[in-house]
Amino acid sequence: MIRTVLIYATLILMVIIFFPLLSEIKPLSQLNPLAKRYVEDSTKNLNSPNIVTSIVVTYRGLDTLGEVTVLFLATTGIGFLIKRRKKNGEKGAFQASEILQTGSLFLFPIIILFGTYIFLHGHLTPGGGFQGGVLIASASVLLIMANVNIKLNHTVLHFIESLSGFLYVIIGTIGLFLLGSFLDPKFLPLGKFGSLFSAGAIPIIYSLIGLKVGAELTNIVDSLRAEGMEDEK
């Protein structure tokens, strides 16, 4: 009882505390100088129309590397936590209907294709490596959900994951090597503004991220699924 009162009192107090954040913040009317610099610099120095992408991949590339690492950690951690067993029984698992199974198989390559498109054009259009990766993963998820019996090749997934991560670091290191700055994408030609092969190494990095994210998310979902099924025995 006391606890309940305390909890609600806490929540009310939290509201009171957070209130100034709402009341004292005036809506923006223009960009702050830093944002302005990003917008200007991105077009000038990076030849990347998608400013968010330039920020994500280049200016704040270290964050993104970290972000990739976080995802990587999550898969590794989950893999570390859950010991995958070879013989997963599927007894009692929900068996999808024929339509669903066929439909998912039909949709799968299309989604993959779409995802690939998204991360390849990350520097040009909305979206990027993460978004693309998530799309790819969603394709896998669809597949997994629809086909309970499907076995994903984890070796390949891991391989993609590791290699793309490794290559990402290597690309960063090339920047360090050639231009003296880690994750500098400008060692490749900046190309023509707005074209696919422009903005230095950004598309490459984003592609690697896309692959990696796709593989990782697939892996996570699959790990959880495997464990969950085992649980029902």
């Binding site: 004292e24 830093l34 590791s162």
Partner: protein, 1046 residues
Amino acid sequence: MVNPLYMFILFLAFGFLFAILDKMGRKVTLTLFYGVLLANFIIPLYWIWGIFSGTTSGTEISTAGFMAPISINLRFGFEEIIIVLLVNFLGLLSAIYLSDKFKKSSINGMILFMVLLMSIDGLVMTRDIFNIFVFLEILSIATYSLIAIEKNRDSLSAGFKYMLAGGIASAFILIGIIFLYRFTGTLNLDDMIGKSHLLVGKAGFLSLYLFLFAILLELKPFPANGWALDVYQAVNEGLVAIIAVASSAAIFFVLYKFLPLVPSEYYGYLGGVGLVTFFFSNLIGLKQKNPNRLLGYSSIAQMGLLLATLSILKSFGSNDLIIFQIVGGLFINHFLAKAALFWLVGIVKKNDISAWTNLRTNPSLLIFLGVFILALSGLPPFPGFWAKWDFVMILASKGSYFSIIGILLASLFEITYLFRWLGFAMKKTDSTEKIDLPISKEFPIAISAIALLVFSVVTTYFFKEFSFIQILPLVGLVLMYLFGYLPVKVKGFVAIVIISTYAIKLYSLVSGLELFFAAILVVGSLVQIIATMYRSGKREGFYPFLVMMIIAIGNLVIAKTYLSFFFQWELMTIASYFLIMKGKEVTSAGLKYIIFSMGAAYFIMTGFAFAPVIPAINLSLINTIGMKHIGILSLSLLSIGFLIKIGSLGFHVWVPDTYNKADDDTTSYLSSIVSKAGIFGFFLLAVAIVKNASLDTELLLTIIGWIGVMTAIIASIMAAFQENVKKLIAYSSIGQLGYIILALSAFNHIGWLAALNLTLNHMLFKLMIFLAIAGVIMRTKTTNMYEMGGLIKKMPWSYISVLMGIIGLSGVPPLAGFGTKWMLYNALIERGWYLQAGAALFASGIAFLYLFRLIYTVFLGQAKPEHKDIKAAPLWLLIPQYIAIAVVMLISMKPILLLKPLSEMISVYIPTNLGWVGDKLITVNGYWNGSQVMNVTMIIFGIPFLWMLFITRKVQKVKQFNIVFAAERPDRPETTHFAHNMYAHYNKAMGFLVTPKLAIKFWDRVSEWISSSGATLRNFYSGNGQTYLLQIILYFIILYSIMGGK
């Protein structure tokens, strides 16, 4: 210089690759793993070499080819280099420690470990607040995953609680970051600091507060830290070492980076958070039995202390060098010691500290444990000691009384539980259970111990500008350890050689009062070393600490600054503690000793802290201490410290137990030498007072005087009721020291003379008595006096020694004891302390009771049949006794030999009002001719003796049972020996003064109250993850309402 980013690259690249490389076999990955760790240890090492050789001063790294604030930049300055070095060092060691885990479990463990280290390095180096968030999350996630390295329920549930707390923290930090960005328009820390004026209003503060709170939460402030404790308890020790130490260090460093952004008026609150954490964690830790959780409390407390020191120093506006010294000292201390302790716990694998008794079977582990516990307790020569000293000095100069009290009290709590643990580990048992000790696990511990020691010696020697002689106690310790394999006799001889050499060196450095004290302390010790050789076997670990203690005590006398005095004082305490711990069943007595000693030390430290800095003249403290005006507060604190050390009334509870349980020759040292260190301290005080004539010390001195005399009375009564011979002498010791401070506080020439004389006499008499009794105990194998008796026939030499001792102590003429008593009364009357004089006489009357009991029940009366065949005491014990007797006889026959020089020493401080006519000493009130009294006594004793020889015609020497016995013959000696409960009648009359045992009850209550408040407080930690969450959010609200008012 290598770009530090290569560390990240190495970690990450191999982290990503390992999943593939592992297919080639675990050997490959393991080799690469350790290779990477080693390389990443070498890189900062290389940098630090560069910094010390002056080729670099650190660097700023920007990424992505753009300058900050557009891109994320990293800093690799001096602080960063140090921390990264330490973190990677610890990582390497931890990895070695965990090697068997890594060998067996999946490759993911290694990957996670590397990424964890990378994130810590990143946290330290990055200068971008969002990047901080990212690295923090990497750190958290890696930790969450690694926690499950042991897949048991405990670690999983602890991990889940950790995740909940971490989730809240990351939520808060994220809100904080985005609003900080919104206000300042930048994410770069340096940039933001420049724009901190933009953080206005409640919202501005709140955004700062959110960030700050998240960081604080990761530092586990009390009481919002239950989750962390669970993690410390449940998780593999190799990993906890990283979590508790390296991660915390990095987060602490984040706070350090972030602090410039926080308006300085909030530093005080942060300090408060740290202090509260330090205090309560240690308080709760008192009740803890599980070593993991114990260390958890200690870790949290240490982080609290770091936080407190940092923010308090910042709030004082101290310069960076000082902050660096203090915080850095504490930091390194904690960093190396705590990690290694966690590893140690992992090796020993006992869930209760009281089960650690088998550590003796593995001396190396015991030594390590000792080193780390000493370091954590802030004892010299470890860095924590210097830091704590400096910090208290600064606090005192700013008048932060509460902070000082809090920090020192909490430190005392910490010392209590740490030393309780150490005490258990040092306990002697019959258990021969060996600890399984793979080299991979011992290696990291050994390396951190060595690193800690090297660091300590380096700081001590170079940065604190300590001369060789001041670290000589430690040198002696190490030197004697090298002789560890030799038999006792040889080691004793070596010790004598070392101490003699030292004594000769010391002689050239001292004069006046210092010479007197140096002579008493060092020569007295030297003589007693002979006695220590009476044992057979090796007595491992005894001589090193003995030599250390003696040199430290000698160095006390020549210490030139407060710091060096305190340094030597603490060394003495440590050494004597370990000497005491050589005894049997000494666990609780040793704990009492260290707690009270440390309490005393803290009083002394604060006393010095409030004293003015003495001018840096190359003279010892006793010559310089009074040069500046010392305040009454400082004097009182110092007095209390020294009173505790000499065990005066109220603080005496540690003395009897300690003296009783320590080895017999150690007890002799404690009583005759170590207690004199406290007296020397009092002389320092006295000199300080004398040189500040303007100071009104009447009240202080009166109080001390009364304490002295009441100590003498009560201790004497207590002594009279003891059945245990060592306790009896212990109480006697307390009482005698009471006289000394009474004489000293009379504060006139003759009073000081009396005090000096009493000091010398007490040293000699207690040496004689304790060593003689040591011989008796050795032969009879008991300490109960009623189990002895009639030993005069078997051990006549010991008897004579005790006889001289008790005549001296009781102050019966003609021995030197009388002279001191006489001077004492002179001093008291001159001072106008008539009632004190009466009370002192009362005390010396009671002294007869216990002294008679001592000699009668042990040496006279009926001998026990089981002692039929015992031999005289070993020659080794007798030699020092008879040396002392010779000295006593000399100063009794010719007191002028001693008194005149002493009087001259004193007249430097207090002009003499004594007159000398021949051998006669004339004071304001009375006169005394020691030599004449001696001569007359010898004649009036000699003549009846000759007469008796002449007139006794036929004296039949009879035996033990030929006593007047009207009925049957005496049955058994036991029933005929009047010894047990000897002063029952006195107890009926005067027992009401001592039976309430007020002091013992008082301290019992205090400890009971403290530990039960700790026990109550720890109910906060209910174990429920949701409650922890609630606590965190409540803490958030409360801290905000305290801080947010501004």
